[in-house]
Amino acid sequence: MTADGGLSELRRGVLGPCVLALLEVKSRFGLELVRDLASAGGLLTSDGTVYPLLSRLRDAGLVTSEWRENPGERARRYYSITEAGKRDLAAFRTEWDQFSATVAGVLNHTRLPSGAGEKGRLP
């Protein structure tokens, strides 16, 4: 596994909860969501990834979508979080706190003193 491959797998894994977190704040349409995720920086490998993910979250009952037409604009499909989505997100937040703390702990503990950082590995 290359470092990049590992990161893109990781991105793919956390993208769902990130989408849920954005939708928890307010309902958004596709491009709006893509832009907010992109502005967070480093989360999206490509914009298109978001759409199959949205469909999957919708099928899993975590997100709903509906057509809305704002005055003077074309009709857009808006995505909103469901109660199940909120529960799922809350559970992920708890797990993520523990998980990221664990990962950070392991990474920092095994870091070798100056000069050998790029060769760091578990003993």
Partner: protein, 291 residues
């Protein structure tokens, strides 16, 4: 929806490639992704976007093949029963989305064929009954010469003496006013059938072969009879009803004012009860011979 972006050559190319790459993805999922992507492009691109802007937006969107692979992966993940939170409706929608187009078209074909069969059934089950054609008479000369016609309460009855042990009977013209051929198979019997036979339990039915005179509403004693008898749509035939009068009537009258027939229409055989417009009666006096 795609009035702005789809006009651009690069966008059209991208959409075409995506469409090709989505082959094999369940139809509903592919349709949804296509709708999401075109909406994304419509929102992301101003109407007067130049090539550089379009190329930048498309490159951020990612290669079509990668998008399709994502969609396929998302679909596979949905296929895992690992959707504990998924409501039943979502699961059902997912299953339906995976039904192939061919399956839908086969289902459609079955629906159409069932419809045709149902149409055929209703076509042959709904047509009306045969009707009394207006002309009638006693069949044997000794009966029609001695017939007495009475009219009471707007109902006419033609009565002849019972000739016990002999054959007696009448003929009537029968119209087929319906659009389908009806075939008379014989007399109908049964608890629901009003057969007041003044004679033998078995009544002999016969239907005339085509005869111009009968077709014009008249009768013909030279007509030839057969059974089963076919009456094509809109045509008229003579129907002869004979029985052997062998009941023992002390004093009294048996009258018949309906004709109950077994009739085949298409695939179906049914009982038709035809009002005759008048009654045919035999009457016995005290001299009638009882056998």
């Amino acid at each position: 929806m795609s009035r702005t972006s789809s006009g651009h050559e690069l966008v059209r190319d991208y959409i075409r490639q995506l469409d090709a790459a989505l082959r094999g993805v369940p139809a509903a999922a592919a349709r949804e992704l296509m709708e999401q992507i075109t909406a994304h492009l419509d929102d992301a691109l101003p109407a007067d976007a130049d090539d550089a802007q379009v190329a930048a937006v498309l490159s951020r969107l990612g290669p079509p093949a990668e998008l399709a692979a994502d969609a396929r992966r998302a679909d596979a993940r949905r296929a895992d029963a690992g959707l504990p939170g998924a409501p039943a409706v979502a699961r059902l929608r997912y299953r339906l989305a995976r039904v192939r187009r061919r399956t839908w078209s086969v289902a459609g074909m079955i629906v159409v064929l069932t419809g045709i069969a149902a149409g055929y059934l209703s076509y042959f089950l709904t047509p009306g009954s045969l009707e009394f054609g207006g002309a009638s008479g006693w069949w044997y000369p000794q009966d029609y010469s001695s017939a007495v016609t009475t009219t009471a309460d707007g109902r006419s009855e033609t009565t002849v003496p019972l000739r016990s042990g002999d054959r007696q009977g009448y003929f009537v013209t029968i119209d087929n006013p319906t659009g389908v051929t009806q075939t008379i198979l014989g007399a109908a019997y049964g608890p629901d059938v009003p057969w007041d036979s003044p004679g033998s339990a078995v009544v002999q039915i016969a239907v005339s072969l085509p005869d111009r005179n009968i077709g014009r509403g008249g009768t013909s004693r030279s007509a030839r009879f057969t059974l089963p008898g076919v009456i094509p749509p809109g045509q008229t035939r003579m129907v002869r009803v004979l029985w052997t009068s062998d009941i023992c009537l002390a004093v009294g009258t048996v009258s018949i004012d309906t004709l109950a027939l077994r009739v085949r229409v298409g695939w179906f055989t049914r009982t038709e009860i035809i009002p005759l417009g008048q009654a045919w009666a035999v009457t016995a006096n005290r001299h009638a011979r009882c056998t």
